[in-house]
Subunit: 889 residues, 2 copies
C-alpha cells in the first residue's frame, strides 16, 4: 500500500477514478497532471492514513506518515528545481488542504504559506525584492495556522490587525507599512504563544506535520460529525490530505496571475476570455485596485496592462493549449485560475464555468455540433430555470434601480408601465397604446380583461397560487404578488408603500417597473433585456423530448390558449377551467342569471343560454388540440365568485334581471361563505345543482361529436373536481355517462370520452383505492391539496408564509414547489392506492407544481403519466422532465 | 346425522348452542322448548341439508329430505293431538321459514297457512265457524306462496284485491264480504295458474316440500349472494328451514292473542304489562279496530274487554310463569307475543324488549340489585344515547306541535322561549325573568353573553361544530343550528321561514320551542318532560368507570366550567381555550389594543394588561382541577375574530384607543382573510407575534406555581395549536421552555409542566414521527382535521352536507361522528407514527368527536389515552368508553 501519491505535470501516481483513496481534490489534481497540465507539484496522503490515525487515537502522526511526508516533500522539490523546504535562498512553501471523497464543509479547509519561518521569510523577502509581500505572507500563515491547526479564537488573531490599522489610520490591509507589518508579526506571535503555550513553530517540516495531523483530526471534529450524520456519510471514509507547492504571481516581473474561460460565459461564444495582471496575486485581480488586462490581443485596445498574448506570449500559448486540453477532457466550458511564476505557467484550479442562460444554451448547442458532447449531455447542461430566464425579458443587471418594495416572484419576466388601479382603466389606457401595470389589492375574475391589457400585475395580498399569480402565468404576464408593503387607496388614486426606510406614495399614472422573477418593484422605467431564444431552441427542446418519459400538457381555457400551448410543445390540455369562459362580457349575464335563479326551471333557462357558448368554446379547443387529449374540469369555484361586488354593478345587474337591489343583495349574502375554499364548490355544486354539470357535459359531448364529424381526432376527458368520497364520483359519473349514452343513441360512431377526477383533498388521496373504481384517470390538483394538507389559504398566507421560508422550514414556498414530505406523501399514496385498485390508471398533475422543476422530478419519480402547467412553462417543464429522466439514470 | 330436529314444549332435539346447524331461529325455538315454554310444535331442517341441496344442483328435494319432512310432520301431529295435515276436520296448518346462522335479509322469509287447500279451507271454516277467516287465510297463502315460493310478480297478486275493494266500495281488507273473498280466491288462483302454468297445489305435503325447496334455493338467490358478499358471510354456511304449526287466537271463544312485557318499558317498573284481545289475531291488536284489555286485573277498571287475569285465569297464570322463566333465562326484559288457542297458551316470540331511556337505566339498576345480571352487563344495557336523553329535558312525545323548520340537532334537550334577535336583548330580557331563544344567522364570540342568558339558540347557517353548536354544548344550552329555511331581518325584527308549504313569518317576542335532540323548531310553547336522572345514576356511572380503559376529560374554559366538569366526572381538562377568556367585558378592550398595536412595544403594553387576568383564570381552573391534568391551548383563532364588526362599535373602539375610525377600518381590513380557517391563526400567530405566546406561557407558569404554593397539586399541559411542520413546535417549545426555566431559577420546586401539540392538520399527522421529537403529548383536534381532510368548512357546509347524509354517503354528519375511513386513517397514522418515534407518547382527542359514542369506540380501538368533550357530554362519554371496552372483549 502506497503511503503517498505524488502529482506534477505529466507525473502522477493517481487519477480521477481514485476518489475513495485520494479524496475528490487529490484525484482531480492527479487527473490534471496526468493530462500534462502544469499544476504546482504536490502529493496526497490517502484517506486510509486518516482512518488509521483516527482509529489509533494517537495525538501525533505515526513514523510511517512522517516518512511519507518526507518523501512527498522530496518529490515536490524534485519537480520544482531549486526550491527546498526551509532553504535560506529559495524556500519551498506549501499549502495543506483536506479533501474527502465528497466535498464536506465542517472540516479543516486550507492552510497557505506553510514553510515560512523567521528565517525563510527573509529569504522570500530577498528573492522577491518585496518585503511587504513576504511579511504579509508570514502574518497570514500565523493567523491561518493558529486558527485552523491550533484552534485559537479567530477574533484574537484578527484583533492586532484591526488595532494596527486604527493606529496607522489606514483602511485596507494593503496600506500597512512594512514597519507596521513587522510589528503585526510580533504581536501575532505573542498571541499565538499566549493561546497555545508554544512559540510559533520554526521548523517547516513540523509545520507540515502538524497541519496534516489537524486535517486528519478535523474528520472527527464536531461539525464534521454532525454534517456526516445529516448527509448520511459513513464515518469510516476518512479524509485525504493534500500538500502542494505554493506558487506566486507576484514573485517577480516575469510572474503574473489571471483567470480564464474557455468560452464567453455571457454569450457562449467559442473564444478565449479572461483577465490577467503582471506581478500580482489572485486577490489583486479580485480586489479591483489595479485594472487587469485581457488575455487576447484583439481585446487590448484600451488596456493599460496590455494583453497576455502580447506581453507573455509563451505563457499565453501554453495557457491556450491547456484550455483546449481541459475543455476537451471535461467536455464543458472551464473556468480556470492560473499563475505564472518566473515565466512558468501553473494551473491552480479548473472547474465548470458558471454562465448566463444564453451562454448555457449556446454552448450546449455548439458542443453537440462540434461532436464534443451528445444531446443527452447537452440537455443536462441547461437548467429549466435558465430556460425560464431565456423566455422572458429580464431587468438589465447593470441598470440603476430605485427600489420600492418586495413581494413574491409570482410570474417571471420584467415589465414597465404606468400605474393603474382598476381593470377598466387598464384596458382603456392599453387601447390608447400605453404600457400599464395593473395594481390591485388582489385580483378577481372580474379583473381578467384588465390583466390581459396590462404588461404586468402587482398585488398587495395573495400567494404564489393566488388568482393574480395563476392568471398572470397563464397569460405570460409579469406579476409580483403579495406585496404586503403596499396600501392602495383606489378612491384617492394612490398607493402608499411602507418600507423600513419610511413611507413613499406613488400615484396612478406614475411609471413603475416589475421584476417578476425576483418579486421586486422599482420606481420609473428600468432598462430590460429582451428575451432571445433563437431558432435552435426548438432543436434543443426536441432533444429534451427524446429523453423525458413524462408527458407535458398545458393548462388552457380558450382556443387561443390552446393554440399557444401547442406552439410551445404541449402534448394535450391537462386542465381546461370551464369557469374562465364564464367571464366573457357576453356570458357573465347568463351566468349570474343561472346563479340567482330561484328554482331549477329558472336555472335551466339560464343554462340553456350558456350551453351554445360553452359548446363553441369546446369545439375551438378540440380543433386546436386535434389528436391530443383535452381534460375539461366541470364548474369548480363557489358561485358567489361570479357575482358583482360593488353596489353600482349590483344595481345594474338588478335592472338586467328585472329584480330589485334588496333581493339581489339578500341572495348575494345568502351565497356568502366564511371559508369559500372549503365551501359549496366543485362537485358539491354538481350534486346539488345537477343541471349545471349536465349542461356542461352536453356541451362537451356535442362539441366532441361535431369535431369528430369534421374528421378531426378528438380525445375529451371530463374531469370532476373536489371529490372527497367515492360516491360523489359514482353518482356524477353515472350522470355524465347518461348524457354520453343518449348522444350515442343518435349516432353511428362516438368519440372515446374518459371520465375522471381530481385528487385535491386529503381524503380523496386516503381513499384513492375506492375512488378508482369510478375513474378513468386521476389528476392531482396540488394547489388545493397543498391548501388543505397544510391548512393554508393561498390567498391569506402572505402574512406568515414568507417567515416560514426565511426561517428555512421550507426551502421554497410550498405553493411554488411541492411540499414533498407532506403533500408529496399524499400524492404517492393516492397514486399507489389508485393503481392498486386499477392497474395502469392514468395519473397526472394539473396544479401549479406541474411547471416547477423540483416538483416535476418528484412526479417523475412517483410514476405519474403527465404534468400540466401554464403554456409559458411548457418548455421549462419539458426540460425539467428530461432532467428528471437523466437523474433517474 | 339427524335430518330433522323437532321442538315442542319440553321436548326438543336442539338448543341455543346449535346455531350453526339449526340457524338462529331454529336454535332459539329449540331453546324455548327446552325451557318448558309452550311453543307451537315444529321441526327444523338443518343447514347441512341446504348445503347438500345447493351443491347437488337438483331442482327438487331428495328422497332423504322428503322423508325428513314426513317424519317432522308426524312429530308435530303427535304434539298437537287431533290435528292432521290435510285433515278434513282439524287440518294441521304450518308456517315455513328460512333461518340462517345470522339474520339475513335477502332470503325467503316466511310462508304462513301452508296446508290450506280447497278442501281444508272448508274444514277450517267449519271448525272455527268463521268462513271469512278461513277464506282470508287461504287467499293470503296463495299470495305469499305465489310471491315467495314461485316468484310471481307481487303486483299481479295484489291487483285483484285492490280491484275487488274498489268494486265493493270498501277501504279495508277486513271489510270484504265472504262472497267477495270467495271471488278473490278464484281470481288469485287464476293469476297463479297463468303465471306459473300450474294449478295452485292442493296437496299440503307438496306445499311444504316446495316451500322448503324455495327456502333452500333462496340461499343462492341474487339478493342473498350480494348481501353475503357485502357482509362477508361464507357461501357454504347454508340456511336451515323451520316448519312450525300455526296457532290461531281467533280459533274459538276460548282463544285469544296478546303482547306482554316482563317490565314496564316506559318506567322500568318490575310488573306485568301488556294487552290482549279474546278471539282475535295478532294484527287485530295492531290495527286498533278493537280496544285491547290489560293483562293485570288492577289495570282493568276502564276496560270493556277486561283483564286476561280475570277472563282466562289459567292462561294468565301460565303466561306469568313463562315470563318469569324467560326473563330469568335471558336476563333481560322480554317483549313477548302469545296466542291462546282453545285454552292452550302458545308463545310465538320472545325478544329483548325496547324501552325508554328511563326504563333502560331503571331495569339495569334493579336487575343488578336482584342479582340477575352483573354490573358489566348492566352498563352494556344502557346506550350512551339513552344517557344523553336522560340528561336533558325532552319534548313530550304526546304533545301537539306546530312544526316550523328543521335544522341540525346541534345541542340536545328542549327549550321554549321568546324569540330575540341579538345578544344584548337576550341578556336584558333574561334579567327580567323571561325565557328567551336567541335566533342568529350565526353566532360569534361577541354573542357569548346572550347565549348564556338564553334557554336555547337557533342559527341559520353553520354545522355541528359551528361556533353556536360548540358553545351551546359547552354551556349545556339547547341548540338547533344550520336551519337553512330561516331568513332573519334583524332590522325589521322578523324571521321568515321558507318551507315546502310556503312562507311563514315570526316576530321577535313570539314564543317558539326548540328540540335540540331532533333539530326541530316549533311555534309556541310545546310541553316538555324534564330530565330525571335519580340518585342511582352516579352508581351506574361508577360501574362504567370500572370497565373503561380510556380517560374522559372535559373541554372547559373557565373555573365554573371546570367545576361543572368535575361534578360530571371529568378526569381532567383536555382543552382549555384561552381565547374564550378574551371576551370578558373587562378584557376585550385590552385584547383589541393588543391586536391593533402597530409595533411590538405597543403590543407588549396591551399584553401586560391581559397577563394578570389570564393568570387569575388559570389559577381558578388549576384549583378546581386539583390533582387532575389541565391542557391549555395557546391562542388559536385569527385575530380579526376579536374585533368589532359594526360601525358603531368600531367608532367607540376608535375613541377608546385614541385613533380615528378610518385608521381602525384600514387595520380591520388588513386583518381580513379570505379563508380565515386556513389563515393567520394558531401557532402561526405564536411565531409571528412571539410576545403573545410568551405572555400566555408566563401566565400559566406563574398560576401553576401559585397553586402549587397553596399546596394544591397542579398538572399543567401547554398545548400549541395548528402545527404543520416539526420546526414550528421546536421553536415554540423552546420559547415556552425558556419561560419555565426562568421561573425555575427563582424557586426551589416547580410543577411538572408538559408541552405538547394538537394534531389538526393532515400534514401534522403525515409527519407525526418528526413532530413527536418536540412533543410530550398529542391531542387530535378532529374538528379542524375533519375540515381540512374533507376540505369542508363547518360554517359553510350547511348548504350541501345534509344532502350527503340523506344520500347515505355518510351515516352521520362527519362533524358529529368521526369519518373513520378518511379522517380516521390520519388519526391512526398520526398515533402510530408518533408512538413509533416516541414510545408511550400520551395521545388524546379534544375535538367534538370526543363526546360521540361511535367515535369514542374508534379512539379506544386505536389506543388513545383519553377523550375530551364538553362537560355535559362527560357522562355520555364515560358510558360510551365503557361500551367500547366491552365491545373489544
Amino acid at each position: 500500500m502506497k503511503t503517498w501519491y505524488g502529482f506534477a505535470k505529466g507525473k502522477t501516481d493517481g487519477d480521477q477514478t481514485m476518489r475513495n483513496l485520494l479524496g475528490g481534490k487529490g484525484a482531480n489534481l492527479a487527473e490534471m497532471c496526468a493530462l500534462g497540465i502544469p499544476v504546482p507539484p504536490g502529493f496526497t496522503l490517502p484517506t486510509s492514513l486518516c482512518v488509521e490515525y483516527t482509529q489509533s487515537g494517537a495525538s501525533t502522526l505515526s513514523a510511517d506518515v512522517r516518512q511519507a511526508i518526507a518523501e512527498g516533500i522530496g518529490f515536490i522539490e524534485e519537480n520544482l528545481p531549486g526550491t527546498k523546504l526551509g532553504d535560506k535562498n529559495k524556500p519551498l512553501l506549501v499549502s495543506v488542504r483536506s479533501g474527502a471523497r465528497v466535498s464536506m464543509p465542517g472540516m479543516m479547509d486550507t492552510v497557505l504559506n506553510v514553510g515560512l519561518t523567521k528565517e525563510t521569510v527573509e529569504a522570500l523577502s530577498e528573492t522577491t525584492g518585496n518585503r511587504r509581500f513576504a511579511l504579509d505572507s508570514y502574518r497570514r500563515l500565523i493567523q491561518m495556522y493558529g486558527d485552523v491547526v491550533k484552534g485559537v479564537d479567530r477574533e484574537l488573531l484578527e484583533e492586532p490587525l484591526e488595532m494596527l490599522k486604527k493606529e496607522e489610520g489606514v483602511t485596507f490591509d494593503s496600506e500597512l507599512s512594512v514597519e507596521a507589518l513587522e510589528r503585526l508579526v510580533e504581536k501575532l506571535s505573542a498571541v499565538y504563544k499566549q493561546e497555545t503555550g508554544d512559540d510559533f513553530p520554526q521548523d517547516p517540516k513540523a509545520q507540515i506535520e502538524e497541519a496534516v495531523a489537524a486535517v486528519f483530526q478535523s474528520w472527527g471534529g464536531k461539525r464534521a460529525i454532525s454534517y456526516r450524520a445529516i448527509n448520511r456519510i459513513p464515518d469510516d471514509w476518512g479524509t485525504a490530505a493534500n500538500v502542494q507547492a505554493m506558487v506566486f504571481g507576484n514573485f517577480s516581473a516575469t510572474s503574473a496571475t489571471g483567470v480564464a474561460f474557455t468560452r464567453d460565459p455571457s454569450t457562449g461564444e467559442n473564444c478565449v476570455m479572461g483577465e490577467w495582471l503582471p506581478n500580482a496575486q489572485g486577490e489583486d485581480v479580485v480586489a479591483g485596485i489595479r485594472t487587469p488586462g485581457p488575455l487576447d490581443e484583439k481585446d487590448a485596445a484600451d488596456s493599460d496592462v496590455g494583453s497576455l498574448e502580447d506581453k507573455m506570449p509563451e505563457a499565453d500559448r501554453e495557457l491556450r493549449e491547456v484550455m483546449a486540453v481541459l475543455e476537451k477532457h471535461y467536455k464543458d466550458m472551464q473556468d480556470i485560475e492560473f499563475t505564472v511564476q518566473d515565466d512558468q505557467l501553473y494551473l491552480l484550479q479548473t472547474r465548470h464555468g458558471k454562465r448566463t442562460a444564453k451562454a448555457a444554451l449556446q454552448i450546449a448547442l455548439e458542443m453537440v455540433d462540434e461532436g464534443l458532447i451528445d444531446t443527452r449531455t447537452a440537455v443536462s447542461r441547461v437548467s429549466p430555470e435558465q430556460i425560464d430566464q431565456l423566455m422572458h425579458p429580464q431587468i438589465d443587471p447593470a441598470a440603476e434601480k430605485d427600489f420600492l418594495a418586495k413581494g413574491l416572484p409570482a410570474s417571471p419576466g420584467a415589465a414597465s408601465g404606468l400605474v393603474v388601479l382598476d381593470a377598466d382603466t387598464a384596458e382603456a389606457q392599453a387601447k390608447e397604446g400605453q404600457a400599464v401595470i395593473l395594481v390591485r389589492k388582489e385580483t378577481s375574475p372580474e379583473d381578467i380583461h384588465g390583466m390581459h391589457a396590462a404588461k404586468g400585475i402587482l398585488t398587495q395580498t395573495g400567494g404564489m397560487t393566488s388568482h393574480a399569480a395563476v392568471v398572470a402565468r397563464g397569460m405570460g404576464r409579469t406579476c409580483v404578488a403579495g406585496c404586503a408593503a403596499l396600501s392602495i387607496d383606489e378612491a384617492a388614486g394612490t398607493v402608499t408603500i411602507r418600507g423600513e426606510s419610511g413611507e413613499r406614495t406613488i400615484k396612478a399614472g406614475d411609471q413603475i417597473t416589475l421584476d417578476g422573477s425576483a418579486g421586486e418593484v422599482y420606481l420609473g422605467e428600468v432598462p430590460t433585456i429582451e428575451s432571445d431564444l433563437g431558432g435552435d431552441f426548438a432543436k434543443f427542446l426536441g432533444w429534451a423530448d427524446e429523453i423525458r418519459e413524462v408527458k407535458v400538457r398545458a393548462n388552457a381555457d380558450s382556443p387561443e390558449d390552446a393554440q399557444n400551448a401547442i406552439n410551445l410543445g404541449a402534448e394535450g390540455i391537462g386542465l381546461c377551467r370551464t369557469e374562465h369562459m364564464f367571464f366573457g362580457p357576453d356570458r357573465i349575464g347568463a351566468v349570474r342569471e343561472m346563479i340567482l335563479a330561484d328554482d331549477t326551471q329558472a336555472r335551466e333557462r339560464a343554462l340553456a343560454k350558456l350551453e351554445p357558448m360553452q359548446r363553441s368554446d369546446f369545439e375551438g379547443i378540440f380543433k386546436a388540440m386535434a389528436g391530443k387529449p383535452v381534460t375539461i374540469r366541470l364548474l369548480d369555484p363557489p358561485l358567489h365568485e361570479f357575482l358583482p361586488h360593488d353596489e353600482a354593478d349590483m344595481q345594474e345587474l338588478a335592472g338586467i334581471l328585472g329584480t330589485d337591489l334588496a333581493t339581489l343583495k339578500r341572495k348575494n349574502e345568502s351565497l356568502h361563505e366564511f371559508n369559500p375554499m372549503l365551501g359549496h364548490r366543485g362537485c358539491r355544486l354538481g350534486l346539488t345543482y345537477p343541471e349545471v354539470y349536465s349542461m356542461q357535459a352536453r356541451a362537451i359531448v356535442d362539441a366532441a361529436c361535431a369535431v369528430m364529424d369534421a374528421d378531426i381526432e378528438v380525445l375529451p376527458e371530463i374531469m370532476i373536481p373536489l371529490i372527497m368520497h367515492p360516491h360523489e364520483l359514482k353518482r356524477l359519473r353515472a350522470q355524465v355517462q347518461e348524457i354520453i349514452d343518449a348522444k350515442a343513441a343518435t349516432r353511428e360512431a362516438m368519440p372515446n370520452i374518459l371520465i375522471g377526477t381530481m385528487i385535491e383533498l386529503p381524503r380523496a388521496a386516503l381513499v384513492a383505492d375506492q375512488v378508482a373504481e369510478y375513474a378513468d384517470f386521476y389528476s392531482f390538483g396540488t394547489n388545493d391539496l397543498t391548501q388543505t394538507t397544510l391548512g393554508l389559504s393561498r390567498d391569506d398566507s402572505g402574512k406568515f408564509l414568507p417567515f416560514y421560508v426565511e426561517e428555512g422550514f421550507w426551502a421554497a414556498d410550498p405553493f411554488a414547489s411541492l411540499d414533498q414530505s407532506g403533500v408529496g406523501v399524499l400524492v404517492e399514496l393516492g397514486t399507489r392506492l389508485g393503481r392498486k385498485a386499477k392497474p395502469g390508471l392514468k395519473v397526472g398533475v394539473c396544479g401549479e407544481h406541474g411547471g416547477d422543476p423540483a416538483s416535476i422530478e418528484f412526479f417523475v419519480n412517483n410514476g405519474l403519466d403527465y404534468v400540466s402547467c401554464s403554456p409559458f412553462r411548457v418548455p421549462i417543464a419539458r426540460i425539467a422532465a428530461a432532467h428528471a429522466a437523466l437523474n433517474k439514470g
